[in-house]
Amino acid sequence: MKRIKTDFGPLINDRASLWKRVAAFIIDLFIIYLAVSPLTVVLAKEIGIDNSIGFSTIKNAFYDQEKFANASRIVIIIMATISLMSLFYWTMLEYYFKQSIGKMLMRISVVSLTKELKLWQILVRNITKASSVTSLSILFLIDIIYMLFNANRQRLSEVISKTEVTNAN
């Protein structure tokens, strides 16, 4: 176990492993997609994944330019809504319990490198994750790449928010 000293608070001596964090993320994604299933059904219709065709499906939006633009608009609205709901999920649970459901199951939790965990920290650390829920976000990609090269295995947003993920007691 590595011990690193931080400027702001307690020693972090039990950092959560990468595979636990990835597993927790996948579990959370699964739960989020279950929770937003009414929206994903509408999204699937709009992009023509299912066999029934709504008027605004992008795939079959040959009706006219207005319908095509409308379909695109609806898809963007749905994706943005799902991202916001993801952010709500992570923020609510990590702020009050320092753990999302995925983290609870993997027995890891969020700790603040300052005295106490604040709401802004939770929001900042989760914004890039939430933005990547519906499409690969460049911000989340930067986050992940930074983490791979960071000695503390912190994502860039975690460095900014001064948080880390450790094994829960």
Binding site: I32, V42, Y63, D64
Partner: protein, 301 residues
């Protein structure tokens, strides 16, 4: 504390689900157009595949595109009826027949609205609909089959070009442009055309409930103006778009309806290629004329 944690998690998920449900309902309500009638264009020459068939990017209808659209319309419960906006001189046999058969099997009322032209293959398609509206001066009918082509053997003779015939199967090059048809070849090809014509007539006879004797009289390739076609029973009504919509509503048994016209999206590149191909044609034609008149002092021989 553990129970509170899971309870809180459950409440968060429930709140998200409820919010998603609400948003999805709002989106579906916004998108709901109610009852609709689709106006599907059949314009230009009807072909099986590819884009335009003309040299210069002339408009055409590709049967595979139409079939795809009809499949979509068939699966869409909000579409109560279809109007085929026909402005086509006809097209290839299989392409026209494919669309006609699909129209017949469609589970919704179909009204054919013939504008300038609804002849030959386009009429085949129209005849398979439930009702035909045409203008009194529309050109329709032309229930026949054409297989004519240019034959260049004498031109080749003039310039000392020979056609070397190498075939296995006597009729393999029947219909080639490089030699004249033999009597047997002509008879064979004519038989094929007659078979296609027979199928065409039978379909129209069945679709329009016209006796085979009468259809033999009228389906001799002649085209008819709208009012003539009306008298012969080839169209149901002389009218316009409003008449077609009105009939579609009646057949679908609906009063309030939204009309949606299917339009092809054309990319900028497609539009540009159409314009430039026409320009190049006229440029080439002008050059060709000038050369032929020997305006440049250049000889072609």
């Amino acid at each position: 504390m553990q129970i509170n944690k899971f309870l809180m998690a459950f409440l968060v998920i429930a709140a998200i689900w409820i919010a998603s449900f609400g948003v999805s309902k709002i989106i579906e309500n916004e998108n709901n157009l109610g009852n609709t009638i689709m106006i599907l264009p059949i314009k230009g020459v009807i072909v099986s595949d590819g884009g335009s068939t003309g040299l210069f990017g002339e408009e055409s209808t590709v049967s595979s595109d139409v079939l795809e659209k009809l499949d979509s319309i068939e699966g869409d419960d909000s579409v109560k009826a279809v109007i085929l906006e026909i402005n086509s001189p006809g097209g290839t046999v299989v392409a026209s027949k494919e669309i006609a058969e699909k129209i017949k099997k469609l589970n919704k009322p179909v009204v054919a609205w013939i504008r300038e032209y609804g002849a030959s293959g386009a009429y085949w398609i129209a005849s398979s609909s439930d009702y035909i509206v045409a203008d009194e001066l529309s050109v329709t009918g032309s229930i026949g089959v054409i297989g004519s082509y240019l034959e260049f053997s004498r031109l080749f003779d003039k310039y000392g070009v020979d056609y070397e015939r190498l075939v296995a199967g006597d009729y393999k090059d029947a219909g080639t442009q490089y030699k004249k048809l033999t009597k047997n070849e002509r008879d064979m090809l004519q038989k094929k055309l007659n078979l296609i014509h027979k199928k065409f007539k039978e379909d129209v006879s069945r679709n329009r409930n016209i006796s085979s004797e009468k259809i033999d009289d009228i389906a001799n390739g002649i085209f008819y103006l709208g009012y003539e076609a009306y008298e012969l029973g080839l169209v149901d009504k002389l009218g316009n778009k409003e008449d077609a919509i009105s009939k579609a509503k009646e057949l679908a048994n609906i009063k309030e309806v939204k009309i949606i016209e299917v339009k092809e999206k054309r990319s900028f590149i497609e539009l540009l290629s159409r314009i430039t191909s026409k320009e190049f044609y006229y440029a080439g034609r002008g050059l060709g004329d000038a050369l032929a008149k020997n305006d440049f002092g250049i000889s072609l021989t």
